[in-house]
């Protein structure tokens, strides 16, 4: 969760130093992959991705995705208590809403139970039914 948010911030830092992408030459955006900040951002996002894959292998997407939002809360708390950043009341409200959402979804089942299939009739029984 933390890796995802840090990766996004690193990408923004990289794209700021890379400059705006020209609409007439959109493929120039590929050159941004050579930027060290963008590369570092991609490394962070890779770490996030492998953890995300493991979670998706045993839980529903509609369960995992809201739960990953807890990363935003952790980054805000990190900014407040370690970097001594100023967090506005509106952002604290955001933290509260995300925490409620994550707490709410994690109280439910993590995986949808497979629907039981209708038992298929034997071909002979099907013929009797048609007759």
């Amino acid at each position: 969760m933390c890796f995802g948010s840090i990766g996004d911030a690193l990408l923004k830092r990289g794209m700021d130093s890379f400059g705006p992408v020209d609409l007439h030459h959109p493929w120039h955006v590929i050159a941004a992959l050579g930027n060290p900040w963008v590369l570092l951002g991609i490394c962070c996002l890779t770490a996030f991705f492998s953890s995300y894959l493991t979670a998706l292998s045993w839980a529903d997407l509609s369960y995992v995705l809201p739960a990953t939002a807890l990363g935003y809360v952790l980054v805000t708390l990190f900014g407040k208590y370690f970097l001594h950043e100023n967090v506005s009341p509106l952002r604290w409200l955001g933290v509260l809403l995300i925490s409620c959402g994550v707490g709410w979804v994690t109280r439910g089942p993590e995986l949808t139970k497979p629907q039981p299939r209708e038992p298929r009739l034997h071909p002979r029984e099907e013929q009797h039914e048609i007759a």
């Binding site: 996004d8 990408l11 923004k12 794209m15 890379f18 400059g19 705006p20 992408v21 609409l23 959109p26 955006v29 590929i30 941004a32 963008v38 995300y52 894959l53 493991t54 998706l56 292998s57 045993w58 529903d60 997407l61 509609s62 369960y63 995992v64 995705l65 809201p66 939002a69 935003y72 805000t76 509106l90 952002r91 409200l93 955001g94 933290v95 509260l96 809403l97 995300i98 925490s99 409620c100 959402g101 994550v102 709410w104 979804v105 109280r107 439910g108 089942p109 949808t112 139970k113 629907q115």
Partner: protein
């Protein structure tokens, strides 16, 4: 005009990200529990199994569209607009797509969580 281009890029981020998530979730359910796979196979075998799953590769294509749309949107607009707009919408769009394509039981609990997180992320950025 620039605003329309920016919102088109944000829409592409959401579509690429949510579409990728749905395909990824489907791929991982076909592969099975990764923790159990790791217990019986080597890490390399698990990586090969994941990377040979067609839906996983399709998911990567969707994420690539979303990623390059993100880079493009970040070069046009402020992070304070692009990040919350794309991130918050992704939670609701993914829940809708999970219900339609993955037939997940998205009950009232999950809808409320998706909306709470969506609004919370929008306020946070």
């Amino acid at each position: 005009m620039k605003s329309l281009e920016l919102w088109t890029a944000i829409f592409m981020i959401v579509l690429g990200s949510s579409g990728g998530d749905v395909l990824l979730s489907s791929a991982m359910k076909r592969i099975g529990d990764l923790d159990q796979l790791r217990a019986s196979r080597s890490v390399l075998a698990v990586i090969v199994r994941v990377f040979t799953e067609k839906r996983f590769l399709l998911a990567l294509c969707c994420f690539s569209v979303g990623f390059f749309s993100l880079l493009t949107a970040l070069s046009w607009g402020e992070l304070s607009l692009v990040a919350p707009a794309s991130a918050s919408m992704t939670f609701v769009v993914s829940a809708i797509m999970a219900k339609i394509f993955l037939k997940e039981a998205v009950d009232h609990r999950r809808w409320i969580a998706a909306v709470l997180v969506c609004v919370g992320v929008a306020l946070l950025k």
